[in-house]
């Protein structure tokens, strides 16, 4: 569960609020698109959710953690409940595709046996079988993206966040990735999914909840797709 209640945040050294008295809630098991122009604060919302930056005021709760009062030592526990697919993938360059996914399981203390069973399964799920031994620079942009997806879902997080995951993909691949996210959302664990995107077509081809933001504020929130945001 994600709860923003009147949250404001200014970057250190920034002159304006990147997030300005923002309120919205995402329930467990929901699938939400987050849309908005460049610089509107989408990535900032993700950084707030993962505890990478702190809110200046308001109330912020994620998966049962009170992020306004969380101690630094508790951040790893929070982050293990969240899987993030970053705008720029953020893969570790000198680890193979396999290790990039496996190390996320080592982080949470999974046993070697679990890892050997789970990683190939997840890599297969995102269509990366046969690429295990390659390094990130030796696979295509779309494949790197899917490594990032595999890493984000390998620990079965409660909340899956994707920041512009389709930025580098052709429309067919984008749709495929969205269907994969939808499947992850639909699974028996009911993973909550938050997808940041610019792609109108894509958003409109799914009838999901769309939260639109501009200048750090929510300007529309509903099931009626991307268009309502454009009208504003």
């Amino acid at each position: 569960m994600v709860l923003f209640d009147n949250v404001s945040m200014t970057y250190p050294g920034g002159d304006m609020r990147a997030i300005d008295e923002m309120s919205f809630a995402i329930d467990d098991g929901e699938f939400v698109f987050l849309v908005g122009p460049s610089g509107s604060g989408k990535t900032s919302i993700i950084k707030l959710i993962t505890g990478e930056v702190r809110a200046d005021s308001g109330e912020l709760n994620v998966n049962g953690f009170d992020l306004r009062r969380i101690r630094r030592g508790k951040l790893p526990a929070l982050r293990r409940t969240i899987g993030v697919i970053f705008q720029d993938f953020r893969l570790i360059e000198d680890m193979t595709v396999y290790d990039n996914v496996a190390f996320a399981m080592h982080v949470v203390g999974a046993s070697n046996r679990e890892i050997r069973r789970r990683v190939p399964y997840v890599l297969d799920l995102v269509g990366l079988s046969g690429r295990e031994k390659r390094f990130p620079r030796e696979v295509s942009g779309g494949e790197q993206q899917r490594v990032a997806v595999a890493r984000a879902i390998v620990n079965s997080p409660q909340l899956l966040i994707a920041d512009e995951p389709t930025g580098n993909l052709d429309p067919a691949r984008s749709l495929e990735l969205m269907l994969l996210m939808d499947r992850i959302n639909d699974n028996e664990m009911g993973t909550t999914v938050l997808v940041v995107t610019h792609e109108k077509e894509l958003v409109n081809s799914f009838s999901k909840r769309v939260v639109a933001i501009e200048d750090g504020r929510v300007i529309s929130d509903g099931m009626d797709g991307y268009y309502s945001y454009e009208i504003q």
Binding site: E52, P76, R80, I92, H106
Partner: protein
């Protein structure tokens, strides 16, 4: 922590040494250079110190006994002289023996051959513990009834003290300067090494890694590099020391001074090198990543 996790982290540490080959090489080289340079200066100072020790030990004070004292009476002074705390050793030399010695020095000069021993005095050859206290000891010898005169080379004693002070001061300054310089170089090398891994650390944190999970491989890496550097530096120091001291022993100076064999120094040098290598390796890597862990 589970053992499988520790195993993984140790493996990651070793892997990282290979992946960051150039930086590993640079760190080890710097550790070696610092250890060898500092070690060499220290060993030179230790050797000079020991040479001074042996030269000092040769330095003797002669106390002459009153002419009126019989040999018996003169011999009786020995315990009184030995009672002075700075006296390490004293040897009684009766006037006849002194005469023989004297005569043998001037063998060819007939003038001295038949001089009667009674013109000389019985004497004590005295060796001191600490020659910087020579003047004080001289006073104490004068205070003994029966001691007529004391021959002490106060100037020589002062010279030794001065040389020793200069040597200790110079080596202390050099070691301090070298420590500062090498810590600075080391810190920068490690900083450079970790700069490239800043992103990697940030990613690990985002996936939920604890600080210990991130730090552990770095510490393993620092430990291994530090140990490696220490061992190589020790072997290098050993061979350099052997080559240099063999030259000295074979050369002219070798007849004047003695050098301490490395086998006698290694029980101290090896643990110090290992300790410094480990400390630099572990602290270097811990300090260098500290800032990146605050995400």
């Amino acid at each position: 922590m589970k053992s499988s996790k520790i195993g993984y982290l140790i493996k990651e540490g070793f892997k990282s040494i290979g992946t960051h080959g150039f930086m590993s090489f640079a760190s080890v080289t710097i550790i070696i250079a610092c250890l060898v340079i500092m070690g060499s200066f220290t060993l030179i100072a230790v050797n000079i110190d020991s040479m001074l020790d042996s030269l000092e030990a040769e330095n003797q004070v002669v106390a002459y006994v009153e002419e009126t004292f019989s040999e018996e009476e003169a011999r009786a002074l020995q315990p009184e002289i030995e009672y002075i705390s700075n006296v390490r050793l004293c040897r009684f030399v009766p006037r006849e023996e002194a005469m023989e010695e004297f005569a043998s020095q001037f063998e060819n000069q007939a003038l001295f051959q038949d001089v009667d021993a009674s013109v000389l005095r019985d004497r004590y050859i005295i060796y001191l513990n600490d020659i910087s206290l020579m003047e004080q000891t001289q006073e104490e010898l004068y205070n003994i009834i029966g001691v007529a005169n004391v021959d002490a080379h106060l100037g020589v004693a002062e010279g030794f003290v001065a040389v020793r002070n200069v040597v200790s001061a110079v080596s202390l300054i050099l070691v301090v300067v070298l420590v500062v310089v090498s810590v600075f170089i080391m810190a920068n090398t490690v900083k450079l090494a970790t700069l490239s891994r800043r992103e990697e650390i940030a990613i690990m944190k985002m996936v939920g890694a604890s600080n210990w999970f991130i730090r552990f491989p770095f510490i393993v890496e620092g430990l291994v590099l530090g140990l490696l550097g220490a061992i190589i530096a020790f072997l290098l120091e050993w061979s350099v020391y052997d080559v240099v001291t063999n030259r000295i022993i074979a050369g002219v100076i070798g007849r004047l001074v003695s050098v301490i064999p490395f086998s006698q120094l290694s029980p101290i040098v090896l643990p110090v090198y290992l300790g410094v290598g480990l400390a630099v390796g572990v602290f270097g890597s811990t300090i260098a990543i500290r800032n990146y862990l605050q995400v």
